[in-house]
Every structure is written in C-alpha cells, then in structure tokens.
Point group: C2
Chain length 242, copies 2
DNA sequence: CGGTTGTTTGATAGGCCTCAAAGTCAGTGG
DNA sequence: CCACTGACTTTGAGGCCTATCAAACAACCG
C-alpha cells in the first residue's frame, strides 16, 4: 500500500526492516479523492498527513484575486503534506489532479515515531527538504527558463521521480495531466502550453496525449531542458551530481 | 550576536531561557564574507551551518549555461543553510549580497542540541519549512504576478521579515541591493527592473535609492502586491492569517 | 583622474497573453 | 444508433509585457 513510499525513502536513506514496520504501522486508513477535488485546504488546522498511493496530486496556491499556480506535483509515494505535522496548517491547498488514493497518517503516530527515532526524524526532515529543493529548482525555471525549456524540465523531473517509484521504466508513462494543469504548473497560459507542446513534438522529443507521455530520447530532452538531477538528492554522494 | 536569530525563533515558537543558552552555546565563531562573495558552494559537503548576523545574503542557483537566479533572500537572524545539517550538501550557492557577518554553528553542535531536545528539533524543522513556504510564494509570484506586483510583493515580504528582527521599524530601512540583484530575485532583466522601480516611484508607493527603501504607505503597497503574510507563519493561529 | 560599477533612457524585437472560434473526442441519453 | 453535451485541444489575430542591444549618465574609488 505504501510500498512506493518506502522505495522513495530508501532512494535517499537506509531504512531497516524494523523501521519499515514502524512506518507501515502509522497508516490509519485510506482516503479516496476524486479528480479536481481538494484533499487539504490552506490555513485549516490538520491532525494527519497523507501519503499519495495512486494518482497525481499537486500543491496549489492562489493570488488574492484568484489566479492559480501549482507549486509542486506529487507522485505516488510522496508524503504530500508532511510539513503540516510541524507547521500545524499549510499555506497552500493540496488537490487531486487525477482520481487519487491517499494513505492517512495521524500526527499522533508521527509524533510517536519521531520521538522514538532520531534517525526517522532526520529521514522525514530530509524528505521535506527535498520538496524545498524542488521548489527552488522550479523558481529557477520560472525566472530563467523559457517555455520550451521549462516544460521539458518538468517532464524530465517527473520522469526521474516516477522512475524512482517504478512508474516510468520505459520512457513512456502515465501522466494524467491536462494542458490546463500544465499551464498551472508552468506559469503559462493554456494556449501557450499547447503551442509549446507542439514545439516539443515537432522537435521529435516526445509525444503527449491522453494522459500518457512518451519521451523519444531522454538524453535529448534533458539536453533541451538543461536538466541536472542533483537537486533531487537521489545519489548519496554530491560528487555524482552535476 | 545571534540576538536577532532568537527574535526570529521566538516569533514562531516558545524558547525557554535554558534553551536559549543551549542555542547560544552552539556558536563556534564568526565569519566575515565580502559583498558578492560566496559563503557556500553547491554540491560541496558541509560540516557547519551559518546564521546571518549582519548584511544581506541570498540563495543562488544557475542554469547549466550560467543564467543566475536568486531563490531566497536572507535577513539577519536567518539560518541561511540550516538544511545542510540534514542534507549534508546543498543544491545551491549561498552568497553575500552586501558585506556580511555570519555566526558559524558546527553540525556536531546541532546534532547534540537536536538529540537532547525534541522541541528544538521541531523548532528548527519548522524554520526550514518556513523557507520552503517562502519559495512556494515566490513560485506563485513568478508564475502569476506581473513585474510591478512581483516587485511590490518582494518589498512587502522583506519589510515584514526585517520588521520581525527589528530592522524596519519605521517603513524605511536599509536594503543593500542593486537593481541587478533585484533582477536576479525577480526573474527580470536589469533594464526592466529599472522601469518597474520607476513605476512604483511614480505611483508614489516607495522610494528606493542608495541601498535604502522607504515605503510611503504600507497598506497601498500590500494592496498593489496582493500581499498576504500568512505564508510567513508569524501568527500562531491560522485564523489570523488571510 | 580614469576606471569601474550602477542607473537611466531609447529603440526594436519577440515571447507570451488575451480573445475568439473551431475542431476533437468520450460519455450520456433519447 | 445518433444527437447532444461537456471537457479538452488546436488554430488565428492582435497586442502588451519584457528582453536585448546600445549608449549616455552618475557615482564612487584607488
């Protein structure tokens, strides 16, 4: 059920079998959220956090006058709102982009887990810092990468992150996003997303249709995106990054 | 020396006098960094973290071909690279924007501190999550706010954050940034920063010259920016935000 | 005082937005 | 089985916002 969550943790830290049991023991139940429905609302106090089991979810923020921006996309295995355990409430919504299933973890269980184990505290702290690193990389994309490069970079990131949890073995994988969702991820208009997508197709880099992405040549796409996966902290040693 | 750091922590959590002593005890020395000089380089393993004592610093990322983006600005009191304690190395540089003084805290001292105190662990975890929240708000700015709004928002944020540590009592405060620095913060060109600044001046919202910012009417500027400070997690209760 | 750094201004180009409308496709109901 | 609907994608036209290039100006500093 949360196998992918453990794959994700183990991609970045050692988790012993007994720790695995402890982690699995924190799950109190499942929650199904339909496409386009919020799981968490900003500024509402929370008593549990959620691990994405299946589907695609996102952190969403709004300007005062209602413009909408996706801040991070979550793949299965992600703890989508772990930070609410420490912050008590969030500054953003968490929304299901496709139909989703979440494993719910009460904060009380997390409290017990982290009080008993300094190591697991650091593992989860680490996890929340990787989210922050992803946000920083997105900031770089927004500030300094054009539409084509930015979209290519997003696809590269999702390819790697889905690969970690075994959902992108063959450079072709489900990515149930509409062009409108992409626009909200990339800070572009829908129309321009459409044109950017056409550009990437025309360049022979990928196909994207029906919620399915096929990358023709990963190397070429990464080149186009200027993608360097170091910020995902997947290799133990810094030397292997960059 | 790290008084402002304690003001900052106390704006978000209870810190007892004995905890304060413990925190002060972690500081091993000072480090002076000249303007435009890096304190930390990306992907280099670190053994200590740094609290900004005076000056202005920033997290900086680069695209593969060298375009530069500031990801977050740090004010005195900020733990500029606390996350290196958990991550071991960073995915970005930390650079002094003006001449800076840092208080250096060895990771070994942080380890002792956090192993002894679950509360302080959560306080510092919280701190690093606020950095993440700031990055998310910047993502929203990049994606959905125009140049004027975006710049106004940055100034509002810095006004609040400097106010917390007592460096912006009267809506006029030192902000030793060049227009070029602002361009790197905002994802704009230097020329356009200049024009945007002129716009804000013409609208009578602020003056910015010689590294000094004067906000004529905070309410008006916040209105222009669509600024809502909830994401800074400065009020204990979510109800007071938004 | 010349060199360097930072600010300002002008002209031009282009990336991306908005508005508008048409085309595609899956699902629904008669 | 076909008409209808709603969600999504594609295309076109026009325009604004922001970048780029170039150059003048100002301020500081050794």
């Amino acid at each position: 059920m949360i196998d992918q969550h453990l794959m994700l943790l183990r991609a970045r830290a050692e988790i012993s079998p007994s720790e695995e049991m402890d982690i699995r023991g924190t799950v109190a139940g499942l929650r199904r959220i339909a496409k386009k429905t919020p799981l968490v609302r900003a500024y509402v106090p929370l008593a549990s956090s959620a691990i994405l089991v299946s589907g695609l979810a996102a952190r969403v923020k709004y300007t005062r006058d209602g413009r909408r921006q996706i801040t991070e996309v979550h793949v299965p295995g992600d703890f989508v709102d772990l930070h609410s355990f420490v912050l008590k409430y969030l500054d953003h919504d968490v929304t299901a982009l496709s139909d989703c299933v979440f494993a719910m973890v009460p904060h009380s269980a997390l409290r017990q887990l982290t009080e008993r184990s300094t190591h697991l505290t650091h593992v989860y702290w680490f996890t929340s810092l990787v989210d922050a690193a992803i946000s920083r990389e997105w900031e770089l994309s927004f500030g300094r990468r054009g539409a084509v490069e930015r979209m290519a970079h997003l696809f590269c990131e999702l390819h790697v992150r889905l690969g970690v949890v075994g959902l992108a073995q063959d450079n072709a994988f489900d990515l149930p996003l509409t062009q409108s969702d992409l626009a909200e991820c990339l800070g572009l208009s829908i129309v321009h997303v459409n044109r950017t997508l056409m550009q990437l197709r025309k360049d022979g880099l990928l196909e994207f249709a029906g919620g399915h992405l096929r990358i023709h040549n990963v190397r070429d796409l990464q080149e186009k995106a200027g993608f360097e996966p170091g910020y995902l902290y997947l290799d133990g040693s810094p030397a292997e990054n960059r």
